[in-house]
């Protein structure tokens, strides 16, 4: 039973139909048909991802300034763009900010999500359904609508959060502008991102928890373990594969936060001090038309993503056997 609970993918459902033995399933044909079937997908991937990636690698190694905008052929400059970008203090400020923001958000999301999953397991089924529906509502909200609503909640003049804080006796929050200082700006961004991401973690972790067999828990109980010890020494080790995958996904996802920041900046936030990596790329690429610099930062972000994704991809590949 414990092996069922310890399977590596978060959504590990008990296989409903007995899958055929590997030998039978692997009877595939050698045939040119396969290549024909792949053509459309490969073409669209080459057009939408492959060519941009190629362009980006080439551009990051070229001088691509205003002169090139007006038709001059670009010159090959090797790693100059990378050297230029990485000797820029602003770049490092953005990198540090992005990494800290990403880790804070990922761990907060996974922590809260896991606690909510445990809570779901502990309460009456009716209460559990109420909580799940509420989480699904938050999960289903389109990103732009969600950020817009949160901007209304945090509105300095008539927002309900300032009102609530004043009611609780914190008078300094009357007319408080949350988005004007970087620190409280990132606090609001964290609240929004955690709010949006926790449902996925909570529901995945709950699915994993339901697979921990009751016999194992009962056995631990008979052996005299208290609830805290059971949680720490039995339950969490059994759901650890799911927990680590979910955490990894959150880290990868939170590293690429762009839209939320961009939308929050619209209110007049200090852009230079609130940019994360994606926003930085946007600013130097679209804003300053420094395509070579933007390409260099993009390659850095892509390399980081591929590096972080490797354990996840390897785990998925196990499914392909």
């Amino acid at each position: 039973m414990s092996t069922t609970a310890a399977r590596p993918a978060p959504a590990t459902p008990p296989a409903p139909s007995p899958s055929p033995p590997p030998a039978a399933r692997r009877r595939r044909r050698f045939s040119p048909t396969a290549y024909v079937l792949l053509i459309p997908a490969v073409l669209v991937l080459l057009a939408g991802m492959g060519y941009p990636l190629y362009w980006q690698i080439v551009t990051s190694l070229q001088e691509f300034g205003l002169a090139q905008q007006f038709g001059q052929p670009p010159t090959f400059v090797g790693l100059d763009n990378y050297a230029r970008i990485f000797s820029d203090d602003r770049m490092w400020a953005v990198v540090v900010r992005s990494v800290v923001f990403c880790l804070v958000n990922a761990f907060a999301t996974v922590g809260i999500g896991t606690l909510l999953a445990l809570l779901m397991k502990a309460v009456h089924p009716v209460v559990r359904v109420v909580l799940q529906v509420s989480l699904l509502l938050a999960w289903a909200m389109p990103l732009v609508a969600a950020v817009t609503v949160w901007k209304w909640l945090f509105d300095w003049r008539t927002g309900v959060i300032n009102w609530l804080l004043v009611q609780m006796g914190f008078d300094q929050y009357s007319g408080h502008t949350w988005l004007a200082q970087p620190l409280s700006f990132f606090f609001v961004a964290t609240v929004i991102i955690v709010w949006m991401s926790v449902p996925f973690v909570a529901l995945s972790m709950y699915a994993a928890l339901t697979q921990v067999s009751d016999e194992v828990l009962e056995a631990a109980r008979i052996d005299g373990a208290g609830p805290a010890r059971i949680l720490w020494h039995v339950t969490l080790p059994l759901v650890r594969p799911v927990l680590s995958i979910v955490l990894l996904l959150q880290i990868i996802w939170d590293l690429r936060v762009f839209a939320q920041i961009k939308l929050l900046q619209d209110g007049g936030a200090p852009v230079g001090e609130t940019n994360l990596l994606g926003n930085f790329i946007y600013e130097i690429g679209i804003g300053r038309q420094d395509f070579a610099g933007a390409a260099a930062v993009s390659i850095f972000v892509l390399a980081l993503t591929v590096l972080l994704s490797w354990p996840y991809v390897r785990n998925l590949l196990k499914e392909d056997r």
């Binding site: 399977r7 993918a9 959504a11 459902p13 008990p14 899958s19 055929p20 039978a24 399933r25 595939r28 048909t33 396969a34 290549y35 792949l38 459309p40 997908a41 669209v44 991937l45 939408g48 060519y51 980006q56 809570l119 109420v130 909580l131 699904l136 509502l137 289903a140 909200m141 389109p142 732009v144 609508a145 969600a146 817009t148 609503v149 209304w152 509105d155 309900v160 449902p199 996925f200 699915a207 339901t210 009751d214 109980r221 690429r256 939308l263 619209d266 790329i281 946007y282 690429g285 395509f291 993009s298 972000v301 892509l302 993503t305 591929v306 994704s309 991809v313 998925l316 590949l317 499914e319």
Partner: protein
């Protein structure tokens, strides 16, 4: 393990409906021979603890759903009420005036048409391309198969922010900026990898023996596929289609760079500019929330309807909306 079992997976939404196995603490049915060591006092303590946890869960549910409730409520209140110093928490004296002025205002109609066109093209293209590719990798063995699978898995992890400058340059040099075709290519390329992976699981979940048995009974290979396998894949195609719909409908980042013209705005871009233009005259939050509600409610309804199918697919894949 695979996405194939997704439809019948113990998804978070359907699981609690079934009688949960973890009801050991139910005081109404004391099992005399059970290993429980609970004295009557201990049982009361457990009941109190469970009630407190239930209360906590309800509070969390209310907090989590509150932004969605607040969006809908604010959209129904006249702006004078929203500007009052004490917020209105209950739906009294509601009006549809905000919706009327949003729908009569400029931009919504054209943004809706743009979103519908892009989403429609993307969903159809994704379904066809991903289905063919999924067939290739799950029914055939061929040179380069593993390379393709690994590439697909990595591509689905790549952040839009790492490529959008290059995609912008590509579209602008081919005169595809502000066009349905250009964005649809980018969306299809972004969504197709995950859908291939999801459908691969569904195709692999249909044992090839079924097809072979039908062929023994006299059907051709194509006939056997169409009559036997294809109907069994319907749930997978629905899930993939909905996934593609949600991605394309909610997308903001790529649209921001690929559709800079006002006339080419999709709904998320329109909502952002709606808030910005409202901010010029001291944000009319009632109208902004009505605009948000118009975008969010169809998505939420759709999401809730299909989420049981989607959750496990999302978990074993890697794309977040």
């Amino acid at each position: 393990m695979s996405a194939a079992s997704a439809p019948s997976a113990p998804s978070a939404a359907s699981a609690p409906v079934a009688a949960p196995p973890a009801r050991a603490g139910t005081p109404a049915v004391p099992t005399p021979a059970g290993p429980r060591r609970g004295t009557p006092g201990g049982r009361t303590g457990r009941r109190v603890r469970r009630a407190l946890l239930g209360l906590l869960a309800v509070v969390v549910a209310v907090v989590w759903a509150f932004p969605v409730y607040w969006m809908v409520l604010s959209s129904l209140l006249p702006s004078a009420r929203l500007r009052a110093s004490t917020p209105t928490f209950l739906p009294t004296g509601t009006t549809l005036g905000n919706f009327r002025s949003v729908l009569d205002g400029a931009g919504f109609g054209s943004a809706l048409r743009m979103s519908l066109a892009i989403t429609g093209v993307t969903v159809v293209a994704v379904l066809v391309f991903a289905f063919l590719a999924a067939l290739a990798i799950s029914r055939f063995r061929f040179r380069g198969r593993l390379t393709f699978v690994v590439a697909v898995l990595f591509v689905q992890m790549l952040p839009a922010e790492g490529l959008f400058i290059a995609q912008y340059k590509m579209l602008s040099s081919t005169n595809l900026l502000n066009s349905v075709v250009g964005v649809s290519i980018l969306y299809t390329a972004a969504v197709v990898p995950f859908t291939i992976w999801m459908l691969r699981g569904f195709v692999a979940g249909v044992p090839i023996e079924l097809e072979e048995a039908a062929m023994v009974d006299g059907l051709s290979r194509v006939q056997a596929f169409l009559r036997i396998t294809f109907p069994l894949l319907a749930p997978g195609l629905v899930a993939s289609g909905v996934y593609a719909f949600l991605q394309a409908w909610n997308e903001f980042t790529v649209a921001l760079v690929a559709l800079p013209a006002e006339s080419a705005r999709t709904l998320p871009l329109w909502l952002r500019s709606f808030l910005a233009s409202s901010a010029n005259r001291g944000v009319d939050w009632g109208e902004v929330m009505a605009a948000s509600t118009l975008i969010a409610v169809p998505v939420i309804v759709f999401f809730l309807l299909v989420q049981g199918r989607m959750t496990s697919g999302l978990v074993s894949g890697a794309v977040k909306g």
